[in-house]
């Protein structure tokens, strides 16, 4: 990064005051109309020793004499309007400074701000180059997810950081969460940053997605072929959709644990005594508890079961009736024939991503049950593998794994987050190279502790106060970000902040179409091949190319 004077930056105004905590107050120059600026835009503040990068979080109309405003004539002639604009009436911005670049030591790159610029520091609209400086350009570790509002520069995520801590994609229904998630998954698979396990409730990510108008967006399998496996829970449905799947998952009764049922309490309308009975059953029958319960088909059998457990027969029958609802899922079988679950674990540890398609089982019971059962198994595997690697240096740590779950609040509700495997992963699995990609529309219903562990947050429009509060919890300058968040457009816009970006930014999501597929291919060809050769070799190649260019 250099300190040279930039090319295309238009001046916006000057810093009048403010604080690091509350944001800076910037007065717009008389010739800059408030209508030319927008919340979420990105600005540069030229301080004396530092150049600051900041985000416009609010825009106000200021008046020199607020009380006298009422007596002001209507300003319906151009002359009076011109006189008053920029002198007595002016536009004001609140700018949240996020990064600072030391002019004396530009090589250190942008650092998080620890101070504010001086009074009357000039505020400029950030140029494309500035944004590129901060958000990097696409490369092996950087994946572009969009562009800043009304700019062409790419905003890139640091993928190594994306997988290092959990990621949250939030936004109310219909704001483009699925597109963003698909984009992120493509980035992770494309740059081979992590193996992904995707619980694809609505069959959006594996083969092809759905789109309001336009051709269906290609799924991971279509884009990456053998590097992605699709495992279906509903073969008939997958066949109908002409999906080429790699396995059909079945879950045995004995794989279901009482915790899984506890998680379903709300959806299956189970009372606390019913849950207690499930634990009692499990204590008595071990992992075959569900077979024992559902196997008691005749009335005498059930009476005997109730007596043995010391339970009231009526309540046991009620429990049986409710749990029998689960048997309508064809993937739930007494004795699973194949070992697809083990295959999934194997794929994942080889770095191959797996998408679990739910087919027509787009109900929460199925989703929660499968996600929980499968993830528990994977969790156990990763814990063992990492611990083995720690004890024995010849063993390699498993590749990072990102587990994508939708409707995350159902798993991470404060009432159940402590019991579910997802709560555990969110809280402590970073050490074991497993993180979550949480997709949700009600972040306020996610356990606070879990939410605080989310490193990178990508938020589309949210309008519920509690949800906004929850998403921004723990973020610096959340008061200002709140304004930005509430004013996102309903589609294709998202506020990205946290661990994988140097500063909060509003992006216009990258389009997911033919040109995206082409870019992806081009990018893969340019640095995908280079990454295979050593750094020295790369430098030699670059030198050679430069020489050739000079020669011609």
């Amino acid at each position: 990064m250099t300190d040279q004077q930039p090319l295309a930056r238009s001046r916006l105004g000057v810093v009048l005051g403010g604080s690091l905590k509350e944001g800076l107050q910037v007065r717009l120059d008389p010739l800059v109309s408030v209508e030319q600026v927008a919340v979420g835009r990105y600005v540069i503040i030229e301080g004396e020793e530092k150049r600051f990068f900041g985000l416009i979080s609010d825009i106000q109309l200021g008046a020199l004499n607020e009380r006298g405003l009422a007596a002001l004539p209507a300003l319906d002639d151009e002359f009076r309007r011109q006189v008053w604009t920029g002198s007595g009436l002016y536009g004001c911005l609140t700018v949240v400074p996020a990064l600072a670049l030391d002019r004396l030591d530009p090589m250190t790159g942008p650092q998080p701000v620890k101070t504010v610029p001086r009074h009357f520091a000039t505020v400029l609209e950030a140029s494309e180059e500035d944004v590129a400086q901060v958000f990097g350009s696409e490369g092996e570790n950087y994946f572009a997810i969009g562009t800043p509002v009304e700019m062409e520069t790419k905003v890139c995520l640091d993928l190594a950081r994306v997988v290092e801590r959990s990621v949250g994609v939030f936004g109310k229904s219909g704001t483009g969460k699925t597109f963003l998630t698909r984009l992120l998954l493509v980035g992770l698979v494309d740059r081979a940053r992590a193996a992904n396990l995707v619980f694809d409730m609505h069959n959006e990510y594996g083969w092809e997605g759905t789109s309001e108008g336009g051709p269906p967006p290609r799924g991971l399998k279509k884009l990456f072929g053998p590097r992605v496996k699709i495992v279906t829970l509903d073969e008939a449905n997958s066949r109908r959709r002409r999906v080429s799947w790699d396995g059909a998952l079945t879950i045995g009764y004995d794989e279901i644990e009482p915790e899984d049922i506890a998680l379903l309490a709300e959806t299956l309308q189970l009372s606390q005594p019913m849950i207690d009975s499930v634990y009692l059953l499990s204590q008595t029958y071990g992992e075959r508890w569900l077979t024992a319960l559902l196997g008691a088909k005749s009335e005498p059998e059930r009476r005997e079961l109730a007596q043995r457990l010391g339970l009231h027969q009526g309540s046991l029958e009620a429990l049986t009736r409710k749990l029998r609802r689960l048997t309508r899922f064809e993937f739930l079988v007494e004795e699973p024939a194949t070992k697809v679950a083990e295959q999934i674990v194997k794929w994942l540890s080889e770095g191959i991503s797996v998408v679990i398609e739910f087919g027509s089982y787009r109900v929460l019971e199925a989703y929660i049950l499968v996600a929980n059962v499968l993830t528990r198994r994977i969790h156990d595997h990763y814990v063992t593998a990492v611990e083995r690697a720690l004890g024995d240096s010849s063993q390699q740590k498993p590749a990072p794994l990102v587990i994508t779950i939708e409707e995350a609040h159902k798993f991470l509700d404060p009432r159940v987050a402590h019991q579910t495997i997802f709560g555990t992963i969110a809280r402590e699995m970073r050490k074991y190279n497993v993180t979550l990609l949480i997709v949700d529309q009600r972040p306020s219903q996610i356990d606070e502790e879990v939410l605080s562990q989310i490193g990178t947050r990508i938020c589309c429009l949210l309008d519920n106060e509690k949800d906004i509060e929850a998403v921004l919890a723990g973020a610096p300058n959340r008061g200002e970000l709140r304004h930005v968040l509430a004013r996102l457009e309903t589609k294709q816009q998202a506020l990205v902040f946290g661990y994988a970006v140097p500063m909060p930014i509003v992006i216009k999501t990258r389009t997911y179409d033919e040109s995206f597929y082409r870019d992806l291919n081009a990018a893969r060809n340019s640095f995908g091949e280079i990454s295979a050769i050593s750094r020295a070799e790369r430098e030699r190649v670059v030198q050679q190319l430069t020489d050739e260019l000079r020669g011609s």
Binding site: P30, A63, L64, N65, G68, L69, A71, L72, P73, F79, R80, Q82, V83, W84, G86, S87, G88
Partner: protein, 200 residues
Amino acid sequence: MNGKRIGEVLQATTTSFVASCDELHCPPDLGALVYASNGQHQVLGLVSAATTTSPDPGRPAIPRGREAASEEEVFRNHPQLAKLLRTDFTAQVVGFWEGNQSPVHQYLPARPPQIHAFVYPASPDLVERFFQQVDYLWLLARAPTQVPVEELMAASVRQAKVILPPERYRALAVRAGQELVRLFEGDPKRVDMVLGRIWP
């Protein structure tokens, strides 16, 4: 290169001077830019008031025209009146300049004009140079003038209207207006009083 003199300084303070007009009843316009030397600089003043009275307190002006057919006849019949009456004007000091080509400073000079210094009207060229700035409004705002200060401000800007091309006059009017908004701290009544008098 001074123009025709219009008067002579009779009283001078750092912030204002009073001059007697060479011709009875012919003071410079309200707000007009005039200047007189202080021995070192040319001190610029804006005409803030004019009076025509009898300088002798024992011989105040009395009505003389009851029998006269016209006002001119009064003076023809009483030729002594031209000597007994005097037109004086007051100018607020709004700056100074050192030589013909030197910039005009819109702040107070170190010394007031000298008594008996000749007073000259500003040439169009000087008016144009003067209105490259509007800082003088701040000096005017604090001056204890006889006329409302808004009147004086408006009159001073208005003199540029006949000198500057329309688009430059408009730019000046806008700039002066904006300065007034700051000067009057956004008081719309006072600002609009001036704006209404300088535009269109």
